[in-house]
Symmetry: C2
Subunit: 303 residues, 2 copies
Protein backbone atom coordinates (compact mmCIF):
# COMPACT_ATOMS: atom_id res chain seq x y z
CA UNK A 1 0.00 0.00 0.00
CA UNK A 2 1.34 3.38 -0.89
CA UNK A 3 2.25 5.82 1.89
CA UNK A 4 1.80 9.55 1.33
CA UNK A 5 5.17 11.29 1.66
CA UNK A 6 4.96 14.78 0.11
CA UNK A 7 2.42 17.48 -0.73
CA UNK A 8 3.61 19.81 -3.47
CA UNK A 9 2.11 22.55 -5.59
CA UNK A 10 2.71 24.64 -8.64
CA UNK A 11 1.36 27.97 -7.32
CA UNK A 12 1.28 30.74 -9.86
CA UNK A 13 -0.38 34.08 -10.46
CA UNK A 14 -3.47 32.45 -11.94
CA UNK A 15 -3.22 28.71 -11.41
CA UNK A 16 -2.79 26.47 -8.40
CA UNK A 17 -2.24 22.73 -8.81
CA UNK A 18 -1.74 20.52 -5.77
CA UNK A 19 -0.19 17.02 -5.79
CA UNK A 20 0.03 14.24 -3.19
CA UNK A 21 2.95 11.81 -3.71
CA UNK A 22 3.54 8.35 -2.27
CA UNK A 23 6.95 7.23 -0.99
CA UNK A 24 8.02 6.26 -4.55
CA UNK A 25 7.16 9.61 -6.07
CA UNK A 26 3.93 8.47 -7.65
CA UNK A 27 1.19 11.11 -7.63
CA UNK A 28 -1.76 9.57 -5.80
CA UNK A 29 -4.03 12.64 -5.68
CA UNK A 30 -4.38 15.88 -7.58
CA UNK A 31 -6.41 19.02 -6.98
CA UNK A 32 -6.70 22.32 -8.83
CA UNK A 33 -8.02 25.42 -7.11
CA UNK A 34 -8.76 29.04 -7.87
CA UNK A 35 -6.22 30.46 -5.41
CA UNK A 36 -3.62 31.90 -7.79
CA UNK A 37 -1.87 34.96 -6.31
CA UNK A 38 -4.24 37.37 -7.97
CA UNK A 39 -7.30 35.56 -6.57
CA UNK A 40 -6.25 35.30 -2.92
CA UNK A 41 -8.38 38.21 -1.78
CA UNK A 42 -8.12 38.58 1.99
CA UNK A 43 -6.75 35.05 2.54
CA UNK A 44 -3.19 34.66 3.80
CA UNK A 45 -1.06 32.07 1.98
CA UNK A 46 -1.36 29.76 4.96
CA UNK A 47 -5.15 30.10 5.01
CA UNK A 48 -5.34 29.51 1.27
CA UNK A 49 -3.26 26.36 1.59
CA UNK A 50 -5.38 25.17 4.49
CA UNK A 51 -8.53 25.68 2.44
CA UNK A 52 -7.44 23.06 -0.12
CA UNK A 53 -6.29 20.37 2.34
CA UNK A 54 -9.49 18.36 2.17
CA UNK A 55 -10.70 15.10 0.59
CA UNK A 56 -7.62 13.07 -0.41
CA UNK A 57 -5.36 15.72 1.12
CA UNK A 58 -7.06 15.74 4.56
CA UNK A 59 -5.08 14.36 7.50
CA UNK A 60 -1.67 14.82 5.86
CA UNK A 61 -0.81 18.20 7.38
CA UNK A 62 2.37 16.79 8.89
CA UNK A 63 3.94 15.90 5.54
CA UNK A 64 6.58 18.21 4.08
CA UNK A 65 5.22 20.76 1.59
CA UNK A 66 7.09 21.95 -1.49
CA UNK A 67 5.87 24.91 -3.57
CA UNK A 68 7.11 26.36 -6.85
CA UNK A 69 6.03 29.34 -8.94
CA UNK A 70 5.14 32.94 -8.16
CA UNK A 71 4.40 31.96 -4.55
CA UNK A 72 8.17 32.48 -4.12
CA UNK A 73 8.23 35.97 -5.62
CA UNK A 74 8.45 39.26 -3.79
CA UNK A 75 4.63 39.37 -3.93
CA UNK A 76 4.36 35.75 -2.75
CA UNK A 77 4.40 34.02 0.63
CA UNK A 78 8.11 34.71 1.10
CA UNK A 79 10.73 35.60 -1.48
CA UNK A 80 12.94 32.72 -2.61
CA UNK A 81 15.57 34.80 -4.42
CA UNK A 82 16.36 34.06 -8.07
CA UNK A 83 19.33 31.69 -8.37
CA UNK A 84 21.92 32.34 -11.09
CA UNK A 85 22.41 30.32 -14.28
CA UNK A 86 24.09 28.02 -15.13
CA UNK A 87 21.82 26.18 -12.71
CA UNK A 88 21.45 22.50 -11.87
CA UNK A 89 18.84 20.64 -9.83
CA UNK A 90 21.22 21.06 -6.89
CA UNK A 91 21.06 24.85 -7.39
CA UNK A 92 17.31 24.71 -6.78
CA UNK A 93 17.75 22.57 -3.67
CA UNK A 94 20.41 24.97 -2.35
CA UNK A 95 18.03 27.89 -2.89
CA UNK A 96 15.00 26.44 -1.09
CA UNK A 97 13.47 28.88 1.38
CA UNK A 98 11.24 27.98 4.36
CA UNK A 99 7.91 29.81 4.42
CA UNK A 100 6.85 31.34 7.75
CA UNK A 101 4.10 29.01 9.01
CA UNK A 102 3.12 27.66 12.43
CA UNK A 103 1.00 24.95 10.91
CA UNK A 104 2.99 23.49 8.00
CA UNK A 105 6.56 22.63 7.03
CA UNK A 106 6.69 24.53 3.74
CA UNK A 107 9.69 24.97 1.41
CA UNK A 108 9.62 27.19 -1.65
CA UNK A 109 11.62 26.60 -4.84
CA UNK A 110 13.68 29.58 -6.02
CA UNK A 111 13.27 31.05 -9.50
CA UNK A 112 16.20 31.44 -11.87
CA UNK A 113 17.83 34.44 -13.45
CA UNK A 114 20.17 34.63 -16.40
CA UNK A 115 21.67 37.03 -18.84
CA UNK A 116 20.01 36.44 -22.17
CA UNK A 117 22.67 35.05 -24.55
CA UNK A 118 24.49 37.74 -26.49
CA UNK A 119 22.39 40.67 -25.32
CA UNK A 120 23.29 41.21 -21.67
CA UNK A 121 19.59 41.53 -20.89
CA UNK A 122 18.43 39.97 -17.65
CA UNK A 123 15.78 37.28 -17.57
CA UNK A 124 13.84 35.62 -14.81
CA UNK A 125 11.59 32.58 -14.48
CA UNK A 126 9.52 31.09 -11.66
CA UNK A 127 7.84 27.73 -11.98
CA UNK A 128 9.32 26.87 -15.36
CA UNK A 129 12.63 25.82 -13.71
CA UNK A 130 10.74 23.07 -11.91
CA UNK A 131 9.21 21.88 -15.17
CA UNK A 132 12.60 21.91 -16.88
CA UNK A 133 14.19 19.68 -14.26
CA UNK A 134 11.10 17.47 -14.31
CA UNK A 135 11.60 17.00 -18.03
CA UNK A 136 15.30 16.25 -17.45
CA UNK A 137 14.25 13.49 -15.02
CA UNK A 138 12.34 11.90 -17.89
CA UNK A 139 15.00 12.44 -20.53
CA UNK A 140 18.57 13.73 -20.26
CA UNK A 141 18.26 15.98 -23.29
CA UNK A 142 20.36 18.91 -24.50
CA UNK A 143 19.00 21.73 -26.65
CA UNK A 144 16.13 24.17 -26.34
CA UNK A 145 13.39 23.69 -23.81
CA UNK A 146 10.52 25.92 -24.93
CA UNK A 147 7.68 26.70 -22.51
CA UNK A 148 4.94 28.72 -24.25
CA UNK A 149 2.62 30.88 -22.18
CA UNK A 150 2.02 34.48 -21.17
CA UNK A 151 5.79 34.92 -21.11
CA UNK A 152 7.30 32.16 -23.24
CA UNK A 153 10.69 30.85 -22.07
CA UNK A 154 13.43 29.49 -24.33
CA UNK A 155 15.96 27.74 -22.09
CA UNK A 156 19.25 26.44 -23.39
CA UNK A 157 20.06 23.13 -21.70
CA UNK A 158 23.49 21.44 -21.65
CA UNK A 159 24.94 18.91 -19.18
CA UNK A 160 21.68 18.81 -17.21
CA UNK A 161 22.01 22.51 -16.46
CA UNK A 162 20.00 25.55 -17.52
CA UNK A 163 22.83 27.47 -19.19
CA UNK A 164 20.79 30.55 -20.03
CA UNK A 165 17.33 31.49 -21.22
CA UNK A 166 15.29 34.26 -22.72
CA UNK A 167 11.71 35.41 -22.35
CA UNK A 168 9.27 36.52 -25.03
CA UNK A 169 6.12 38.41 -24.03
CA UNK A 170 4.28 36.77 -26.92
CA UNK A 171 1.23 35.53 -25.01
CA UNK A 172 0.71 38.77 -23.15
CA UNK A 173 1.29 40.91 -26.25
CA UNK A 174 -1.34 38.85 -28.06
CA UNK A 175 -3.82 39.28 -25.23
CA UNK A 176 -3.42 43.05 -24.79
CA UNK A 177 -3.44 43.74 -28.53
CA UNK A 178 -6.49 41.55 -29.05
CA UNK A 179 -8.38 42.91 -26.06
CA UNK A 180 -7.38 46.57 -26.01
CA UNK A 181 -6.06 47.71 -29.40
CA UNK A 182 -7.74 48.66 -32.66
CA UNK A 183 -6.73 45.21 -33.99
CA UNK A 184 -9.08 43.37 -31.67
CA UNK A 185 -12.00 45.56 -32.69
CA UNK A 186 -11.92 43.95 -36.14
CA UNK A 187 -11.99 40.36 -34.89
CA UNK A 188 -15.26 38.45 -34.78
CA UNK A 189 -16.23 34.85 -34.04
CA UNK A 190 -12.57 33.77 -33.84
CA UNK A 191 -11.80 30.32 -35.12
CA UNK A 192 -8.42 28.80 -35.83
CA UNK A 193 -7.32 29.27 -39.46
CA UNK A 194 -4.16 27.41 -40.35
CA UNK A 195 -3.56 29.37 -43.52
CA UNK A 196 -3.88 32.77 -41.84
CA UNK A 197 -1.73 31.57 -38.93
CA UNK A 198 1.08 30.37 -41.21
CA UNK A 199 0.91 33.55 -43.29
CA UNK A 200 1.44 35.43 -40.02
CA UNK A 201 4.33 33.15 -39.05
CA UNK A 202 6.00 33.67 -42.42
CA UNK A 203 5.64 37.44 -42.27
CA UNK A 204 6.70 37.53 -38.62
CA UNK A 205 9.86 35.65 -39.57
CA UNK A 206 10.82 37.57 -42.68
CA UNK A 207 9.62 41.08 -41.85
CA UNK A 208 11.48 42.36 -38.83
CA UNK A 209 9.51 45.61 -38.49
CA UNK A 210 7.09 44.10 -35.98
CA UNK A 211 5.30 47.35 -35.05
CA UNK A 212 4.63 47.93 -38.72
CA UNK A 213 3.67 44.35 -39.47
CA UNK A 214 1.06 44.43 -36.70
CA UNK A 215 -0.80 47.14 -38.60
CA UNK A 216 -1.33 44.65 -41.44
CA UNK A 217 -3.87 42.89 -39.20
CA UNK A 218 -5.98 45.99 -39.75
CA UNK A 219 -5.32 46.49 -43.46
CA UNK A 220 -5.76 42.80 -44.39
CA UNK A 221 -9.20 43.13 -42.79
CA UNK A 222 -9.99 46.49 -44.41
CA UNK A 223 -9.28 45.08 -47.87
CA UNK A 224 -11.02 41.74 -47.12
CA UNK A 225 -7.89 39.67 -47.64
CA UNK A 226 -8.35 37.93 -44.30
CA UNK A 227 -11.77 37.24 -42.81
CA UNK A 228 -12.61 38.73 -39.43
CA UNK A 229 -12.86 35.27 -37.82
CA UNK A 230 -9.31 34.46 -38.99
CA UNK A 231 -7.59 37.68 -37.89
CA UNK A 232 -6.86 36.30 -34.44
CA UNK A 233 -4.94 33.38 -36.00
CA UNK A 234 -3.06 35.80 -38.23
CA UNK A 235 -2.06 38.02 -35.29
CA UNK A 236 -0.91 35.05 -33.25
CA UNK A 237 1.13 33.82 -36.24
CA UNK A 238 2.88 37.17 -36.59
CA UNK A 239 3.88 37.22 -32.92
CA UNK A 240 5.00 33.58 -32.72
CA UNK A 241 6.89 33.89 -36.03
CA UNK A 242 8.70 36.95 -34.72
CA UNK A 243 9.68 35.02 -31.58
CA UNK A 244 10.84 31.91 -33.44
CA UNK A 245 13.08 33.80 -35.88
CA UNK A 246 14.81 35.63 -33.01
CA UNK A 247 15.77 32.33 -31.34
CA UNK A 248 16.61 30.66 -34.62
CA UNK A 249 19.07 33.44 -35.44
CA UNK A 250 20.75 33.12 -32.07
CA UNK A 251 21.01 29.36 -31.87
CA UNK A 252 20.16 27.71 -35.19
CA UNK A 253 18.05 24.59 -35.50
CA UNK A 254 18.78 22.99 -32.12
CA UNK A 255 16.53 20.14 -30.98
CA UNK A 256 13.44 21.52 -29.20
CA UNK A 257 11.56 20.10 -26.21
CA UNK A 258 8.18 21.79 -26.18
CA UNK A 259 6.39 21.88 -22.82
CA UNK A 260 2.70 22.57 -22.32
CA UNK A 261 -0.85 21.64 -23.10
CA UNK A 262 -3.59 22.57 -25.48
CA UNK A 263 -3.94 24.76 -28.51
CA UNK A 264 -1.11 27.17 -27.75
CA UNK A 265 1.42 24.36 -27.93
CA UNK A 266 -0.16 23.14 -31.17
CA UNK A 267 0.53 26.59 -32.60
CA UNK A 268 4.18 26.52 -31.52
CA UNK A 269 4.54 23.05 -33.03
CA UNK A 270 3.24 24.34 -36.35
CA UNK A 271 5.41 27.46 -36.27
CA UNK A 272 8.54 25.47 -35.41
CA UNK A 273 7.85 23.02 -38.23
CA UNK A 274 7.36 25.96 -40.62
CA UNK A 275 10.68 27.42 -39.46
CA UNK A 276 12.49 24.18 -40.26
CA UNK A 277 12.91 22.69 -36.78
CA UNK A 278 12.93 18.93 -37.42
CA UNK A 279 13.62 17.57 -33.95
CA UNK A 280 10.66 18.76 -31.84
CA UNK A 281 9.31 16.65 -28.97
CA UNK A 282 6.29 17.55 -26.90
CA UNK A 283 5.83 17.09 -23.14
CA UNK A 284 2.79 17.50 -20.95
CA UNK A 285 3.14 20.55 -18.68
CA UNK A 286 1.46 19.14 -15.57
CA UNK A 287 3.40 15.93 -15.92
CA UNK A 288 6.81 17.64 -15.90
CA UNK A 289 5.74 19.93 -13.01
CA UNK A 290 4.94 16.84 -10.96
CA UNK A 291 8.21 15.18 -11.89
CA UNK A 292 10.21 18.34 -11.13
CA UNK A 293 8.74 18.85 -7.67
CA UNK A 294 9.44 15.24 -6.80
CA UNK A 295 13.02 15.44 -8.12
CA UNK A 296 13.73 18.48 -5.94
CA UNK A 297 12.21 16.76 -2.92
CA UNK A 298 14.22 13.56 -3.51
CA UNK A 299 17.51 15.40 -3.87
CA UNK A 300 17.01 17.52 -0.75
CA UNK A 301 16.00 14.39 1.22
CA UNK A 302 19.26 12.72 0.19
CA UNK A 303 21.43 15.71 1.09
CA UNK B 1 -11.21 93.59 -44.82
CA UNK B 2 -10.96 89.86 -45.13
CA UNK B 3 -13.88 87.87 -46.49
CA UNK B 4 -14.57 84.36 -45.15
CA UNK B 5 -14.35 81.85 -47.99
CA UNK B 6 -13.99 78.32 -46.55
CA UNK B 7 -14.75 76.34 -43.42
CA UNK B 8 -12.56 73.27 -43.06
CA UNK B 9 -11.86 70.71 -40.38
CA UNK B 10 -9.50 67.96 -39.42
CA UNK B 11 -12.06 65.48 -38.02
CA UNK B 12 -10.56 62.39 -36.48
CA UNK B 13 -11.45 59.59 -34.10
CA UNK B 14 -10.56 61.69 -31.08
CA UNK B 15 -9.91 65.24 -32.22
CA UNK B 16 -11.88 67.83 -34.13
CA UNK B 17 -10.27 71.10 -35.21
CA UNK B 18 -12.26 73.66 -37.19
CA UNK B 19 -10.79 76.49 -39.30
CA UNK B 20 -12.30 79.57 -40.99
CA UNK B 21 -10.27 80.92 -43.94
CA UNK B 22 -10.42 84.29 -45.65
CA UNK B 23 -10.24 84.63 -49.45
CA UNK B 24 -6.42 84.54 -49.33
CA UNK B 25 -6.22 81.31 -47.35
CA UNK B 26 -5.44 82.99 -44.06
CA UNK B 27 -7.03 81.29 -41.07
CA UNK B 28 -9.14 83.92 -39.33
CA UNK B 29 -10.80 81.71 -36.70
CA UNK B 30 -10.10 78.38 -35.05
CA UNK B 31 -12.13 76.11 -32.82
CA UNK B 32 -11.47 72.73 -31.23
CA UNK B 33 -14.33 70.53 -30.03
CA UNK B 34 -14.90 67.20 -28.39
CA UNK B 35 -16.77 65.65 -31.31
CA UNK B 36 -14.26 63.09 -32.53
CA UNK B 37 -15.94 60.03 -34.07
CA UNK B 38 -15.82 58.09 -30.84
CA UNK B 39 -17.50 60.93 -28.90
CA UNK B 40 -20.42 61.62 -31.23
CA UNK B 41 -22.94 59.72 -29.14
CA UNK B 42 -26.39 60.07 -30.67
CA UNK B 43 -25.47 63.10 -32.82
CA UNK B 44 -25.44 62.71 -36.59
CA UNK B 45 -22.41 64.17 -38.37
CA UNK B 46 -24.56 67.03 -39.64
CA UNK B 47 -25.84 67.78 -36.14
CA UNK B 48 -22.33 67.62 -34.72
CA UNK B 49 -21.10 70.07 -37.35
CA UNK B 50 -24.05 72.36 -36.71
CA UNK B 51 -23.25 72.35 -32.99
CA UNK B 52 -19.85 74.00 -33.56
CA UNK B 53 -20.99 76.68 -36.03
CA UNK B 54 -21.20 79.44 -33.45
CA UNK B 55 -19.22 82.52 -32.40
CA UNK B 56 -16.80 83.36 -35.25
CA UNK B 57 -18.28 80.57 -37.35
CA UNK B 58 -21.91 81.70 -37.04
CA UNK B 59 -23.63 83.00 -40.17
CA UNK B 60 -21.22 81.29 -42.59
CA UNK B 61 -23.33 78.19 -43.28
CA UNK B 62 -23.33 78.92 -46.99
CA UNK B 63 -19.56 78.64 -47.38
CA UNK B 64 -18.09 75.45 -48.82
CA UNK B 65 -16.96 72.93 -46.19
CA UNK B 66 -13.92 70.67 -46.52
CA UNK B 67 -13.24 67.83 -44.08
CA UNK B 68 -10.30 65.47 -43.74
CA UNK B 69 -9.57 62.54 -41.42
CA UNK B 70 -11.57 59.57 -40.18
CA UNK B 71 -14.81 61.42 -41.01
CA UNK B 72 -14.21 59.95 -44.51
CA UNK B 73 -13.80 56.35 -43.31
CA UNK B 74 -16.36 53.57 -43.54
CA UNK B 75 -17.40 54.51 -39.98
CA UNK B 76 -17.54 58.23 -40.88
CA UNK B 77 -20.10 60.52 -42.49
CA UNK B 78 -19.60 58.93 -45.88
CA UNK B 79 -16.73 56.84 -47.19
CA UNK B 80 -14.22 58.70 -49.34
CA UNK B 81 -12.37 55.62 -50.65
CA UNK B 82 -8.61 55.36 -50.23
CA UNK B 83 -6.75 56.70 -53.29
CA UNK B 84 -3.68 54.82 -54.54
CA UNK B 85 -0.06 55.95 -54.23
CA UNK B 86 1.87 57.46 -55.89
CA UNK B 87 -0.49 60.32 -55.07
CA UNK B 88 -0.33 64.05 -55.76
CA UNK B 89 -2.42 66.92 -54.47
CA UNK B 90 -4.52 66.45 -57.63
CA UNK B 91 -5.19 62.83 -56.55
CA UNK B 92 -6.82 64.15 -53.38
CA UNK B 93 -8.91 66.65 -55.33
CA UNK B 94 -10.01 63.92 -57.76
CA UNK B 95 -11.06 61.75 -54.83
CA UNK B 96 -13.20 64.33 -53.00
CA UNK B 97 -16.60 62.96 -52.03
CA UNK B 98 -19.73 65.02 -51.23
CA UNK B 99 -21.31 64.25 -47.88
CA UNK B 100 -25.08 63.78 -47.82
CA UNK B 101 -26.40 66.99 -46.24
CA UNK B 102 -29.41 69.24 -46.84
CA UNK B 103 -27.88 72.08 -44.88
CA UNK B 104 -24.25 72.28 -45.94
CA UNK B 105 -22.03 71.89 -49.00
CA UNK B 106 -19.55 69.42 -47.55
CA UNK B 107 -16.65 67.70 -49.36
CA UNK B 108 -14.51 65.02 -47.76
CA UNK B 109 -10.85 64.38 -48.55
CA UNK B 110 -9.97 60.76 -49.41
CA UNK B 111 -7.36 58.81 -47.48
CA UNK B 112 -4.44 57.11 -49.22
CA UNK B 113 -3.36 53.52 -49.53
CA UNK B 114 -0.01 52.10 -50.57
CA UNK B 115 1.98 48.93 -50.58
CA UNK B 116 4.69 49.29 -48.00
CA UNK B 117 8.04 49.38 -49.85
CA UNK B 118 9.59 45.94 -50.25
CA UNK B 119 7.07 44.01 -48.18
CA UNK B 120 3.87 43.97 -50.21
CA UNK B 121 1.95 44.89 -47.06
CA UNK B 122 -0.91 47.31 -47.47
CA UNK B 123 -1.01 50.60 -45.63
CA UNK B 124 -3.64 53.25 -45.17
CA UNK B 125 -3.76 56.82 -43.85
CA UNK B 126 -6.52 59.37 -43.28
CA UNK B 127 -5.79 62.92 -42.27
CA UNK B 128 -2.01 62.65 -42.58
CA UNK B 129 -2.23 63.03 -46.40
CA UNK B 130 -3.66 66.51 -45.87
CA UNK B 131 -0.81 67.41 -43.52
CA UNK B 132 1.77 66.08 -45.99
CA UNK B 133 0.47 68.26 -48.81
CA UNK B 134 0.23 71.19 -46.42
CA UNK B 135 3.91 70.74 -45.64
CA UNK B 136 4.70 70.51 -49.37
CA UNK B 137 2.94 73.89 -49.81
CA UNK B 138 5.44 75.35 -47.38
CA UNK B 139 8.49 73.57 -48.74
CA UNK B 140 8.94 71.42 -51.84
CA UNK B 141 10.97 68.78 -50.00
CA UNK B 142 11.87 65.20 -50.90
CA UNK B 143 12.62 62.51 -48.33
CA UNK B 144 10.79 61.08 -45.36
CA UNK B 145 7.81 62.81 -43.85
CA UNK B 146 7.33 61.29 -40.42
CA UNK B 147 4.05 61.84 -38.54
CA UNK B 148 4.24 60.36 -35.02
CA UNK B 149 1.05 59.41 -33.21
CA UNK B 150 -1.06 56.39 -32.32
CA UNK B 151 -0.12 54.93 -35.70
CA UNK B 152 3.05 56.67 -36.86
CA UNK B 153 3.37 57.19 -40.61
CA UNK B 154 6.64 57.24 -42.57
CA UNK B 155 5.86 58.62 -46.02
CA UNK B 156 8.40 58.65 -48.82
CA UNK B 157 8.03 61.89 -50.82
CA UNK B 158 9.48 62.52 -54.28
CA UNK B 159 8.39 64.97 -56.99
CA UNK B 160 5.65 66.37 -54.74
CA UNK B 161 4.02 62.96 -54.59
CA UNK B 162 3.52 60.45 -51.80
CA UNK B 163 5.35 57.53 -53.39
CA UNK B 164 4.64 55.04 -50.62
CA UNK B 165 4.41 54.88 -46.87
CA UNK B 166 4.39 52.55 -43.92
CA UNK B 167 2.66 52.56 -40.56
CA UNK B 168 4.05 51.66 -37.15
CA UNK B 169 1.67 50.98 -34.26
CA UNK B 170 4.21 52.45 -31.87
CA UNK B 171 1.92 54.87 -30.02
CA UNK B 172 -0.86 52.34 -29.58
CA UNK B 173 1.54 49.54 -28.56
CA UNK B 174 2.98 51.88 -25.92
CA UNK B 175 -0.47 52.72 -24.58
CA UNK B 176 -1.80 49.17 -24.37
CA UNK B 177 1.41 47.78 -22.87
CA UNK B 178 1.59 50.59 -20.34
CA UNK B 179 -2.09 50.44 -19.43
CA UNK B 180 -2.86 46.74 -19.64
CA UNK B 181 0.30 44.61 -19.37
CA UNK B 182 2.51 43.55 -16.49
CA UNK B 183 5.00 46.25 -17.61
CA UNK B 184 2.71 49.10 -16.69
CA UNK B 185 2.13 47.66 -13.23
CA UNK B 186 5.75 48.46 -12.37
CA UNK B 187 5.59 52.10 -13.46
CA UNK B 188 5.04 54.85 -10.92
CA UNK B 189 5.09 58.63 -11.00
CA UNK B 190 6.32 58.68 -14.61
CA UNK B 191 8.71 61.43 -15.52
CA UNK B 192 10.79 61.77 -18.65
CA UNK B 193 14.29 60.30 -18.23
CA UNK B 194 16.58 60.96 -21.18
CA UNK B 195 19.11 58.33 -20.20
CA UNK B 196 16.50 55.56 -19.83
CA UNK B 197 14.84 56.66 -23.08
CA UNK B 198 18.08 56.53 -25.06
CA UNK B 199 19.05 53.18 -23.52
CA UNK B 200 15.70 51.93 -24.81
CA UNK B 201 16.32 53.44 -28.24
CA UNK B 202 19.75 51.82 -28.45
CA UNK B 203 18.44 48.40 -27.45
CA UNK B 204 15.39 48.73 -29.70
CA UNK B 205 17.73 49.45 -32.62
CA UNK B 206 20.30 46.75 -31.98
CA UNK B 207 18.21 43.95 -30.50
CA UNK B 208 15.65 42.82 -33.03
CA UNK B 209 13.83 40.40 -30.72
CA UNK B 210 11.25 42.99 -29.71
CA UNK B 211 8.94 40.63 -27.77
CA UNK B 212 11.93 39.54 -25.74
CA UNK B 213 13.33 43.03 -25.30
CA UNK B 214 10.01 44.25 -23.90
CA UNK B 215 10.42 41.85 -20.98
CA UNK B 216 13.55 43.77 -19.97
CA UNK B 217 11.26 46.59 -18.80
CA UNK B 218 10.25 44.17 -16.08
CA UNK B 219 13.68 42.78 -15.25
CA UNK B 220 15.44 46.16 -15.23
CA UNK B 221 12.86 47.16 -12.61
CA UNK B 222 13.15 43.90 -10.63
CA UNK B 223 16.91 44.36 -10.32
CA UNK B 224 16.66 48.11 -9.66
CA UNK B 225 18.65 49.07 -12.75
CA UNK B 226 15.95 51.50 -13.86
CA UNK B 227 13.76 53.40 -11.42
CA UNK B 228 10.00 52.90 -11.57
CA UNK B 229 9.44 56.54 -12.60
CA UNK B 230 11.80 56.08 -15.60
CA UNK B 231 10.41 52.79 -16.92
CA UNK B 232 7.87 54.56 -19.08
CA UNK B 233 10.69 56.45 -20.86
CA UNK B 234 12.60 53.20 -21.29
CA UNK B 235 9.59 51.42 -22.82
CA UNK B 236 8.92 54.28 -25.19
CA UNK B 237 12.60 54.28 -26.22
CA UNK B 238 12.50 50.56 -27.02
CA UNK B 239 9.43 50.96 -29.24
CA UNK B 240 10.62 54.10 -31.06
CA UNK B 241 14.11 52.62 -31.52
CA UNK B 242 12.59 49.51 -33.05
CA UNK B 243 10.57 51.67 -35.44
CA UNK B 244 13.50 53.89 -36.44
CA UNK B 245 15.85 51.00 -37.24
CA UNK B 246 13.25 49.37 -39.49
CA UNK B 247 12.93 52.52 -41.61
CA UNK B 248 16.66 53.20 -41.53
CA UNK B 249 17.35 49.72 -42.92
CA UNK B 250 14.86 50.23 -45.74
CA UNK B 251 15.82 53.72 -46.79
CA UNK B 252 19.05 54.84 -45.14
CA UNK B 253 19.60 58.32 -43.72
CA UNK B 254 17.19 60.29 -45.92
CA UNK B 255 16.28 63.82 -44.83
CA UNK B 256 13.35 63.76 -42.39
CA UNK B 257 10.45 66.21 -42.02
CA UNK B 258 8.94 65.59 -38.63
CA UNK B 259 5.31 66.67 -38.19
CA UNK B 260 3.56 67.18 -34.88
CA UNK B 261 3.46 68.89 -31.55
CA UNK B 262 4.55 68.29 -28.01
CA UNK B 263 6.60 65.74 -26.16
CA UNK B 264 6.06 62.83 -28.54
CA UNK B 265 7.77 64.71 -31.34
CA UNK B 266 10.61 65.66 -28.96
CA UNK B 267 11.15 61.95 -28.41
CA UNK B 268 11.29 61.21 -32.13
CA UNK B 269 13.74 64.06 -32.60
CA UNK B 270 16.03 62.54 -29.97
CA UNK B 271 15.72 59.02 -31.35
CA UNK B 272 16.41 60.18 -34.91
CA UNK B 273 19.48 62.10 -33.74
CA UNK B 274 20.68 59.02 -31.86
CA UNK B 275 20.20 56.94 -35.02
CA UNK B 276 22.39 59.34 -37.01
CA UNK B 277 19.77 61.29 -38.95
CA UNK B 278 21.42 64.70 -39.49
CA UNK B 279 18.83 66.46 -41.62
CA UNK B 280 15.70 66.62 -39.45
CA UNK B 281 13.28 69.54 -39.67
CA UNK B 282 10.23 69.96 -37.49
CA UNK B 283 6.79 71.25 -38.50
CA UNK B 284 3.77 72.15 -36.44
CA UNK B 285 0.95 69.66 -36.99
CA UNK B 286 -1.99 72.07 -36.86
CA UNK B 287 -0.18 74.47 -39.12
CA UNK B 288 0.33 71.92 -41.91
CA UNK B 289 -3.27 70.65 -41.51
CA UNK B 290 -4.51 74.18 -42.13
CA UNK B 291 -2.20 74.63 -45.10
CA UNK B 292 -3.19 71.27 -46.59
CA UNK B 293 -6.92 71.89 -46.39
CA UNK B 294 -6.48 75.26 -48.08
CA UNK B 295 -4.25 73.79 -50.80
CA UNK B 296 -6.90 71.17 -51.65
CA UNK B 297 -9.62 73.82 -51.71
CA UNK B 298 -7.58 76.13 -53.93
CA UNK B 299 -6.76 73.42 -56.44
CA UNK B 300 -10.37 72.22 -56.71
CA UNK B 301 -11.58 75.83 -57.11
CA UNK B 302 -9.19 76.27 -60.04
CA UNK B 303 -10.20 73.01 -61.73
Amino acid sequence: MSTPSLIAADWGTTNFRLFLYDQDGKVIARHAANIGLKNLGVLSFEQALQSVLKDDFAGHENLPFLLSGMVGSRQGWIEAPYAACPASLQTLVDGLVKAPSDKYDVSIVPGLFAESPGTGLLNVMRGEETQIFGLLEQEKADGFFVLPGTHCKWALIRDEKVQSFSTHMTGEAFQVLKTHSILGALMNNDRHDDEAFLLGVERGMYNRALLSLLFSVRTEALFNNIKSESLSSYLSGILIGSEVIAELERHGHSPVRLVGDGQLVDLYEKALAFAGFKDVTRYDGTNVSEAGLWAIHKLRSNS
